[in-house]
């Protein structure tokens, strides 16, 4: 009874005092605190404590979802609209609208909403730092305040990427195995080559194919994103865990230390062995991947959720093998598929966070999980998803590898370091105007600068590491 009153009170109070920022933060924090206290004492019940605490709102309400993902998991829009339709059938007073953002526009649109303290109720975030930062900035409420721990524990990568001081910021939605290497077995066979199982073998394949003017790996770095991918699949191989990366960010170690610098030299090596298409610097990522489908390259790297689609387009399991990047080091993560989950979070200004959370939970019911796989061919971020329905062996292997995969490094460095050091230097190394060690040194310089210009960085990351 008391709990119900408190939650209702906080929702209304927040709405009325929307313009007084400080007061809102204070009131909300108080409400959360009280809400959290009440929910933590109820772990044994099946439904979430806040559900029983607050009756589902009966008035007409609208939820807005701002998201991304159709770009890497085609079919997502269809699934989302279906899910919305099913949910609103069960809850007729709820209207849900959604907006698919562009890749460049996703973050700026959210920043604008955050500055205005109004906008979507549910917001899409890439994992790791991309979900942590809005939490640190106070723009989202932790989903762990509205979804019980045992439910959240099934969400893949929730703790590793979105965990912060006992909270989980956002709810994983679908898994992004990061990043599969797609190999055209037929092209290799036609040239008398076998699928490489380690780095040196890969370099040999590059030599052999480039001698015949065949592109080994098709890539495009003009728009930058690919650089981050390469960092993750090569860089992860020499660290022990994501904690190593965070340590370099806060300054306990350096990006020029061997475990962080080694991969740059490997990248340089791949250029020397002519692994890449010669126009990698003037092509955008999606344009380059098309070459693989067209049979003009032996390999490419795709977004995890999209890999099965690419494989199918290029000829199916017979012709295409999906695998992790061959290992160049013997670190614990080498040869392992990276894993990250793309997530959905609840914004701080949402008037109906409990409804938003309910919708998120609805997305994890088994019917919806299966529907996601059917619509997109990619894996939903829930370990309750029944893998037996995955018939393609390569896809199944891909999914399984992503459940206990290596951390996706790009998600554990500041976003600015990613664009300014990783994207940029990958472009330059692949162009041949920068060496591996130079790239590592530049990354370290940028990190040092960033620690002074972003004055909250060290504190936030240090707290995250704990």
């Amino acid at each position: 009874m008391v709990r119900r009153y408190l939650s209702a009170f906080s929702a209304r109070e927040v709405w009325e005092m929307k313009s007084k920022k400080v007061f809102v933060i204070g009131a909300f924090a108080l409400a959360l605190l009280l809400g959290a206290c009440s929910s933590s004492s109820d772990k044994s019940t099946e439904s979430t404590p806040t559900e029983s605490a607050a009756a589902f709102p009966t008035e007409d309400l609208t939820l807005n979802i701002s998201w991304w993902g159709e770009q890497e998991a085609p079919g997502a829009t269809k699934w989302l609209e279906e899910t919305i339709a099913l949910y609103t059938k069960e809850h007729p007073n709820v209207t849900i609208k959604h907006v698919l953002q562009t890749t460049e526009g996703l973050v700026p649109a959210f920043e604008a909403a955050a500055a205005a303290q109004s906008g979507p109720d549910i917001q899409y975030f890439w994992g790791g730092i991309y979900a942590q930062q809005p939490g640190w900035d106070g723009n989202i409420v932790p989903v762990s305040d509205y979804i019980a721990e045992d439910e959240l524990s099934h969400y893949i990568n929730a703790k590793m990427e979105e965990g912060f001081q006992g909270k989980i910021w956002t709810a994983p939605w679908y898994v992004n195995p990061s990043f599969p290497l797609l190999v055209r077995k037929d092209i290799l066979a036609a040239n008398g080559l076998e699928v490489p199982t380690n780095w040196d073998q890969l370099m040999n394949v590059c030599d052999a194919l480039s001698a015949k003017n065949i592109t080994t790996i098709a890539g495009g770095v003009k728009d930058g994103w690919f650089g981050g991918w390469i960092y993750s699949i090569l860089g992860a191989q020499s660290v022990q865990s994501q904690a190593d990366v965070i340590n370099a960010v806060v300054g306990n170690t350096k990006f020029t230390d061997p475990e962080h610098a080694g991969w740059w030299s490997k990248l340089e090596e791949s250029k020397k062995h002519k692994c890449w298409n010669d126009d990698i610097n003037s092509l955008e990522l999606y344009q380059a991947q098309q070459r693989f489908v067209d049979g003009k390259a032996a390999m490419t790297i795709t977004a995890g959720p999209d890999a099965p689609n690419f494989a199918k387009k290029a000829g199916g399991d017979e012709k295409v093998q999906i695998m992790a990047m061959p290992a160049w080091s013997d670190g614990p993560l080498a040869g392992k598929m990276g894993t990250t989950s793309q997530t959905l979070g609840i914004t701080k200004w949402s008037k109906y966070p409990e409804v938003a959370a309910d919708f998120l939970k609805f997305a994890h019911t088994s019917d919806r999980l299966n529907a996601w796989f059917a619509a997109t061919g990619s894996m939903p971020a829930d370990d309750r998803f029944d893998l037996t329905q995955v018939t393609s062996p390569s896809t199944k292997a891909l999914f399984e590898s992503a459940i206990q995969g290596a951390p996706y490094l790009e998600n554990f460095i500041p976003a600015k370091l990613d664009t300014d050091a990783v994207f940029k230097n990958v472009q330059l190394v692949l162009k041949g105007t920068m060496t591996g060690p130079e790239a590592a040194a530049d990354m370290q310089d940028q990190m040092e600068r960033l620690r002074t210009s972003d004055r909250k960085l060290v504190d936030n990351f240090t707290a995250w590491a704990k």
């Binding site: 770009q71 907006v99 953002q101 562009t102 890749t103 460049e104 526009g105 700026p108 649109a109 604008a112 909403a113 500055a115 205005a116 109004s118 728009d223 955008e284 999606y286 344009q287 098309q290």
Partner: protein, 281 residues
């Protein structure tokens, strides 16, 4: 337009001239040609022959370019351009008349400063105006964008109209004030009718600028349904970067109104843009 010429030249010089001009024309026209022809091809056709004419017209590009938000973008561009151009015309005409008609102390300085504001990079204004827009909940509203556009277009507009108004013969104005007309009446019934051409020219110049503007629209119109055509097209490119015909079709639609206006209104375009510079001669 009489062209001063008449000096006999060697035929070699004529060849050189035509060669240069042809090269220039080709360079100027080829990109537009590529855009337009690509919009009617399929992806494979384009990749195989970027320069060739489309073998048979394929409208797939146009179909997928005309997505559910495209009409909104078109409408938004139209509304913003109309609103800001009209507002600028009115405000600039009033102010220019104030500068032209009434000599007052510091007139030149104030006018000079106003006109020099053309030099300020829009990005400098972006951040404070954006934050203000956020506080006033005016982000993703067309009105704020119109206001900012007007502010940016005013300096040049005032300058151009002041130049023109000052050139209206005093005798015409004299006769009006002898009749007892107030300066507002003079303005309305004598000056405005005379100003048809420069006002039209100014409108066209401003229309061009506002239609093509990207940066401010990008920042102030976050909501997908409120974006202008330019912003929508820019985002287009990354989402459909695989599908060149679609991108080119979108571009063609975005450019078409301007090209048509340009072909029919060349005189105004050119006259308007030269207005600011040729000084009284």
């Amino acid at each position: 337009m009489k062209i001063n010429r008449g000096i006999r030249r060697s035929p070699l010089e004529a060849t050189f001239r035509y060669l240069l001009l042809t090269f220039m024309a080709v360079t100027a026209l080829v990109p537009g040609y590529i855009m337009f022809t690509a919009s009617f091809k399929t992806q494979e056709q384009f990749l195989r022959a970027p320069f060739g004419l489309p073998l048979h017209l394929s409208f797939g590009g146009y179909k997928s370019a005309w997505t559910n938000n495209f009409p909104h973008w078109l409408l938004n561009s139209f509304l913003i351009v109309t609103g800001s151009v009209i507002a600028t015309e009115v405000l600039a005409a009033l102010a220019a008349w104030g500068f032209a008609r009434f000599p007052f102390k510091g007139r030149e300085t104030i006018l000079g400063v106003m006109v020099s504001l053309m030099v300020v990079p829009p990005v400098v204004l972006l951040i404070p105006l954006f934050q203000l827009g956020v506080e006033l909940s005016l982000i993703s509203t067309l009105r704020l964008v119109v206001l900012i556009y007007v502010g940016l277009m005013l300096p040049f507009s005032i300058y151009m109209l002041t130049n023109f108004f000052k050139s209206i013969p005093e005798s015409i104005l004299e006769s009006a004030s002898i009749d007892g007309a107030s300066s507002f009446k003079t303005f309305k019934s004598i000056v405005l009718p005379l100003s048809g051409a420069p006002l039209a020219t100014l409108a066209v110049v401003n229309l061009l600028w506002a239609w093509n503007e990207l940066l401010l629209a990008l920042v102030f119109l976050q909501n997908n349904e409120k974006k202008t055509l330019m912003v929508g097209i820019t985002g287009f490119q990354s989402r459909y970067s695989l599908d060149i015909p679609t991108v080119m079709a979108g571009m063609s639609i975005a450019t078409l109104p301007l090209v048509i206006a340009y072909l029919f209104g060349q005189r105004f375009f050119i006259a308007g843009l030269t207005a600011g510079s040729t000084k009284g001669e």
